[in-house]
Structure formats: C-alpha cells, structure tokens
Symmetry: C2
Subunit: 196 residues, 2 copies
DNA sequence: CTTGAAATATACCGATCGGTCTACTTGTTA
DNA sequence: TAACAAGTAGACCGATCGGTATATTTCAAG
C-alpha cells in the first residue's frame, strides 16, 4: 500500500529529474510540481539524496517490467528477443520525452566524487547496467552463442552508446546502423558456435 | 598569447569539472584551486556558463590534437587507424583519472532543459560528436568501406557506449569485446565492398 | 466523542550560489 | 616619474539551497 502522497512526490521528482537533471532541481520545485507540503516530503524521504535513489530504483524496476514484457511479446526465440531489445530501444529513443539514459546521467552527476564516498545513486546505475548485461547473457546463451558473455558486453555497449548518442544529438540513421551492427554481432556469435 | 591567469583558471576548472561535475563545482572552488582572485575570473569570463563552454571547447581541441597524433603514429593505413582509435580509447579509459566522456556528461547536465533555450555547452558536445563521426567517415571511406557513413555511425556508437559503460562501472573485458566488435564491423564493411 | 496519525502552510536556519563592487597593490611601459 | 592595465582581497548583493521547527487542520478508527 504505497501512500498516494509518496507516489505523487516520486512522480513529480521523476518528471523533473528527467527534464532538468538531478542537481538542477531543488526540493521546492518538486513540492510545487507534486502539490505537496515540504514537511510531507521529509516525512517520506530522509533527504534529497534518498529521494533521488528511490526515483532511480523505481525507474529501474518499471523499466525492467515494461521492457521484458515488450520483448517477450515481440518474439518467442532467444535470437528474436535479442534484436527485439533494440526495437524496444528505438521506441524509447523515438519518444519526444526521451532525455537519455537516466542511469548514465546519474552516474555523470554523482558517480565521480570518490570511490570511498560513492553516492548510492551510482549503485543504482551499476545495478541497472548489471541487470541488462545479465539479461543479454541469458538470451545469448539460450540462442546458442559461442561466448554469450562477450556478446552481452558487445550488445550492452551498443545499447548504451545508442542512448548516449541520441542524448547528445538525435541522428535519424544512427539507431538503424546500431541495430544492423547488433544483428551482425549476434549472427557471428551464433554462427561461430554452430561451425565448431 | 593566452594570459597565464586565464590558463590557470581553465586548468583548475577542467580538473574540478572532471572530478566532480559541472554543477557541483562552485566558482569559489575554482578560485581556490586556481589561486586566483574572484575579480580576475570575471575579468576573463563573463559567467560560469561561459567558463564551462570554454573548458569544453578547449577539451575538444586538445582531444582532437592528442588523439589524431596518437592514431596517425600508431598506424599508416586507414584500416589500421580505425582500430587504432579504439586502442587510444583504451588508453584513455584505463587511466585512473578517467571519469567518463565530459561531453556526454555536459549533455546530461545541460542538454535537457528545452530545445529553445539550448545551453551552449550542448553545442560543444554536438560539435565534438560530429567531428568524431566525420573523422570515422573519412577513414572508413579511405579504407574502402561500402557504406562509410553507416560504419561511422556504428563505430561511433560503440565508442560512446564504451565510455558510458566504463563511467558507470569498469568491466575488465568490456573494452576488449567492444574492440573485437569494431573489428568485425570494419571487416564486414570492407569485405562487402570488395565482393561487389 | 476522542484520540492520533497524516498532511497542511509557513517561518526559519546556516550555507552556498553566481555575480558585482570598492579599494589597494603590483609591474610594465611610455 | 607618471600613467595604465592586471591582479588581489574581501565585503556585499539577492536568491536559492537542503533541512528543521512550530502550529494548525483534516479525517478516519476506536
């Protein structure tokens, strides 16, 4: 039973963080956008840092659910699902409210202070990245790739690169090229396994 | 004849922006680190935004010089230079003071306000990305790739992806896999041209 | 009807933000 | 030596920052 106020705060914060970044959005801005009193926010979240982390964790969770659902619905074979991940990526990037990978952006703002005083937001980004990599590895293994871990690293790099490129400047053909590259890498990994 | 004080300010700002991000570093911090008076900074730069942009433009300039020199020294053929770019990327990422692509980080902080009020720092990031893409296209064309523009988009995506991945969390094998992928894409692009 | 938790509005805290201003000290050059 | 540009230290500006405190209201459960 999540409190409705708490949800409203998270919704507002997510919206503002997405469109303006984490550090650029002050608490007051979140309060106004959520229509909630200052006291209420600090009743649900001990600090802004905690709010940021909670937003990221919720984004990670919803992204996993949403994306796995789309991919599993789009294709039945592991091979088909690997490429379907990039089709889902296209849907995300083509949306007008795409502002880049929020986990990479969080790492850009919080991930570079010091190894000892690592910000928890960075941990969320690391977890997100690790989950995607594990998912790709699982699918690659099921598809019969010779080296599923290597394939997962390659596809994951293409995935992150496509988001970063689109965040800086959208290029109409960039994602097509990336998808084509992904298919070549997948085919090569599977063919290499078949011919041994 | 660049003023030594101005250079000291840019050096300090670049160092701090790299290790802590743009928004997280205040003017006072730059002054202390540069050993320069407040008045002096505002004598050389009209605003912090302007300082940020100038730092990015200088980083872009030095990166181009440094990287082209390394690549041209490492290989003589266009094909060899394409892969040498990724070898140079490895050198950058392996450095202990690697904190991710500063242009992607700038885009993460400044690039998402509004299309109308686009921050000039985003323009610097766009220019950086476009230059790399043009360089890759030039090399791809010289190497005899069937579709040099497409190859450049693919390699550029891999390039950005490798930096983003390493920024979130360094993975010992990620760059090896990316380089291997790059070589496969290059070979495929050239072979496809040769057999027609 | 009462109790108590949840939410409200708002004042307040010290600190920091980017940026301006004044007054003084250099060092070089005419 | 006089003039001048460049730099210094530091006070100061209004605004905003994240976070706390106080006092009041709302409303459902016992």
């Amino acid at each position: 039973m999540p409190s409705p106020k708490r949800t409203a705060i998270l919704d507002a914060a997510e919206d503002l963080f997405r469109t303006h970044g984490f550090g650029a959005v002050g608490i007051q801005r979140v309060l106004d956008h959520a229509g909630v009193a200052r006291r209420t926010l600090y009743l649900h979240f001990p600090s802004k840092d905690d709010l940021v982390v909670t937003v990221l964790e919720r984004m990670d969770h919803t992204w996993r659910e949403h994306t796995t659902a789309r991919v599993e619905q789009a294709a039945n074979t592991p091979r088909g699902r690997l490429t379907a991940i990039f089709a889902a990526l296209r849907d995300d990037i083509d949306r007008p409210d795409f502002y880049g990978c929020m986990f990479a952006r969080a790492a850009a703002e919080y991930g570079v202070t010091s190894a000892a005083t690592a910000h928890p937001a960075l941990a969320a980004a690391v977890a997100h990245q690790a989950w995607i990599r594990a998912w790709l590895t699982r699918l690659g293994k099921a598809a019969g790739a010779a080296q599923p871990e290597t394939l997962a690293l390659q596809l994951g790099t293409l995935f992150d690169g496509a988001m970063t490129c689109a965040q800086v400047k959208r290029h109409p053909q960039a994602l097509n090229a990336a998808i084509h590259a992904a298919e070549m890498l997948i085919d090569a990994a599977i063919d290499h396994a078949a011919q041994r």
